[in-house]
Amino acid sequence: MATVEVPKEQKVEPTTPAPAPSKPKTITLRISRFNPSEHAETKFEEFKIPVQKWTTVLEAILYVKQSLDHSVAVRYSCRQASCGSCGMKINGKPRLACYTKVSELESNVITVEPMNNFPIIRDLAVDFKQLFSTHKKMKPFIINEESEVQPGTKEFVQTPKDLEKFLQFSYCIKCGLCNSACPTMATDKSFIGPQGLAQAYRYTADNRDQGKKDRLKIVDQSHGIWRCHFAGSCSDVCPKGVDPAMAIQLLRGYMLGFRK
């Protein structure tokens, strides 16, 4: 059988060269440490972390937990901006740690702190009790006597226009970033807050719902909707584009008689 000899110097070059593996960069991660049962004061601990282009702040914190100091307290779950657990202040701004890449912060020093306006459980983990109880008080469900689908009934039909009125506000993941950015919440501990008010609007604007009167009564109190000064910082930090500041103004529209 005939054989074909390939000359030694003839090399086959790939058409596109393989990308060179990106070199990990080292950053300093400053973590706020506070244990109410041990320390009287908050202190910052610094860790050197190797990061890639795609490393998120949560991954950087988990690297610390895994390799340097396992006692750092942080809350997380989904790692994909869905569960709302990993809210914290990153370089001074409330953000989701799993949704914030170290590279987008454009700094070699990253400071992580617990969210403002929440009691601290330990380090980066804050207490969500008030957020959840306020959310619950807003009756975050459809109130409708005929909501049970019985034989002979059919589902409520909604037009795309009906849906548009509340869809954006239903994307809330209860991460609490809006409450932590709210300047009113910083001094008024009884204020309902942007998260609760946005949810009150979300259900009030739903044409299947009949609980408008109840909800408007709940938010119409001395620490309710009127304490919003429209700073807009809630909408600025919301990772889901909910725009609570707009929801609050729309809800006010019902109370001032501009909306039916």
């Binding site: 009113t184 001094t187 119409d220 109190q221 001395s222 309710g224 009127w226």
Partner: protein, 124 residues
Amino acid sequence: MVPEYYLVIKMKESIIMKIHYGTALGAVALVAVHILMRLSQKFSDSLQYQNVLANYHFLPYALMLEVILILLSVHGFNGLRVILLELKQGVAYERAINYGSIVAMIVLVAYGSRTILMAGMGLS
């Protein structure tokens, strides 16, 4: 029977805030008239003793001053009440702020009205 003060304090926040916005708009309009009246003659002349007294003697103008006084007292003290409620919370504190601002409103209106009345009647 429900005492009067109960009705005032239990007023819904939306009603209070509607009054707050209404008094602001009213005050802006009437203060604008008040300032324009200063410009109806040379500004410094309009503030001459006799001219100021003449304003008080002119009943519609004196009434307008009285309305401005009420609008500004209601708006101002309610604004202060809101600021103080946002600053600190607590049942006793909030009750004190609510009652205190109503009393302050009444005192200021009474004192201002006394001035308007006395000047209008030519007393000093």
